[in-house]
Amino acid sequence: AAAARREMADTAVDVRKEDQKLINEFGRLNARTKEIRADRAVLQKQLEELDDATTELAMGDGDDVQLMLGGESFVDVSEDFATEHCEAEQERVQAELDGFDAAIAAAEKRQKELKKLLYDRFGAQINLEE
C-alpha cells in the first residue's frame, strides 16, 4: 500500500486552479441535488394528499366539508370552495415539482460533463462516485 501511494505521488498530475474550480463545482452540484431530492420527496407526498382530498370531495355529498387552515384549525367551507382551494394548491405544487425536476436534470447533465473532464485529466487519482 505504501508502495502504491509512492507510485501515485510520482505520477500524480498536479491540480491547477481551473481544476480546483471544476472539483468545487462538482461538489456544489452534489450537495444541491441531494437537497432538491429531499425537498421533492416532501412535495410529492403533499401532492398525493391533495389528490386524495380532491377525490374525496368529488365522491362526497357536499356536507360537512372542513378545510384545514393555518395548520391547526378546521374551517367549515362549501364543497366548491374546498375543491377550488385544493385544485389551486395542486397546480402550485405540481409547478414546483416540475421546477425541481428541471433543476435535477440540469445538475446531472453538468455533473456528467464534469466527470468526463476530471477523469480525463486525473484518471484514477480522483474519485467522483457516491
Partner: protein, 216 residues
C-alpha cells in the same frame, strides 16, 4: 399605529443585520492559507495553493507539519460554520410554510369579514382537544410575536407584518444558501490543498531516501 411601526422596524433591522463571521477566523495561525478576501458575511476565501513549495516557503519553519496543521484548523472552523448555516437554513425552511399558512388564515378571516359572514370552525383548544365555534370576524387579529408577547392588529396591518416576516425568512434562507455554496467550495479547496501538500511531502521523502541510498 405606533405599535405597528416598532414591530416592522424590528423585523426590518433583523433582516438587514447580517452575521459577521470574520471573528471566528481571526486566529488562523497562517495568514497565507487565506486569500485575504471575504464574502459579504465576512467568511474568508481560502488561498489556492499554486505551488506547494512556494507555500511552504512562506511558513515560519518550512515544515509540512506546521502547514498541514494550520490547514486542518481552517478546515475545522469551516466545517463548524457549515453546520451552523445548515441549521439556520433548516430553521428558515420550517418557518416559511408556517408563516404562509398563518397568512392564509388571516386572509380568510378578512374575506369573511368583508363579506359580512361568520364561519364555523373546529379550533385547537389543546394538542388533542378541539372545540367548535362560530367565528364572527371583528376586524382584528392577535399576532403572537414570541417572548410572551401578543399584539392585536387590524387585518391589513397583520397581513403586512406577516408578509414582511415571510420575505425576511426567505432572504435569510437565500443568504444561507449562498454562504453554504461558498463554504463548501472553501472546504473542498482546503481538502485538496492538504492532500497535495501531503503528496508533495511523500514525493520529497522518497527523493531524499533515494539520494541517501546513492550516497551510501
Amino acid at each position: 399605529e405606533a405599535k405597528g411601526d416598532d414591530v416592522t422596524d424590528a423585523l426590518d433591522a433583523g433582516a438587514a443585520a447580517t452575521e459577521d463571521a470574520s471573528k471566528q477566523f481571526a486566529n488562523i495561525r497562517m495568514a497565507t492559507i487565506l486569500s485575504g478576501e471575504k464574502n459579504p458575511r465576512g467568511i474568508p476565501y481560502v488561498a489556492f495553493v499554486e505551488s506547494v513549495e512556494e507555500t511552504l516557503a512562506t511558513t515560519t519553519d518550512g515544515t509540512v507539519e506546521k502547514l498541514i496543521g494550520a490547514m486542518n484548523e481552517l478546515h475545522q472552523k469551516m466545517k463548524i460554520l457549515e453546520g451552523h448555516k445548515e441549521r439556520t437554513k433548516i430553521s428558515m425552511k420550517q418557518k416559511i410554510p408556517e408563516i404562509a399558512r398563518t397568512l392564509q388564515l388571516v386572509k380568510h378571516l378578512k374575506a369573511k369579514h368583508d363579506a359580512d359572514e361568520t364561519f364555523k370552525s373546529h379550533y385547537s383548544l389543546s394538542e388533542m382537544l378541539y372545540g367548535r365555534a362560530e367565528v364572527t370576524p371583528d376586524g382584528t387579529v392577535c399576532l403572537w410575536l414570541g417572548a410572551n408577547v401578543m399584539v392585536e392588529y387590524p387585518y391589513d396591518e397583520a397581513i403586512d407584518i406577516l408578509e414582511l416576516s415571510l420575505k425576511n425568512a426567505k432572504t435569510r434562507r437565500d443568504i444561507c444558501d449562498a454562504d453554504l455554496d461558498m463554504i463548501r467550495d472553501q472546504v473542498i479547496t482546503v481538502e485538496v490543498n492538504m492532500a497535495r501538500v501531503f503528496n508533495y511531502d511523500v514525493k520529497r521523502r522518497k527523493a531524499e531516501g533515494g539520494k541517501k541510498e546513492i550516497e551510501a
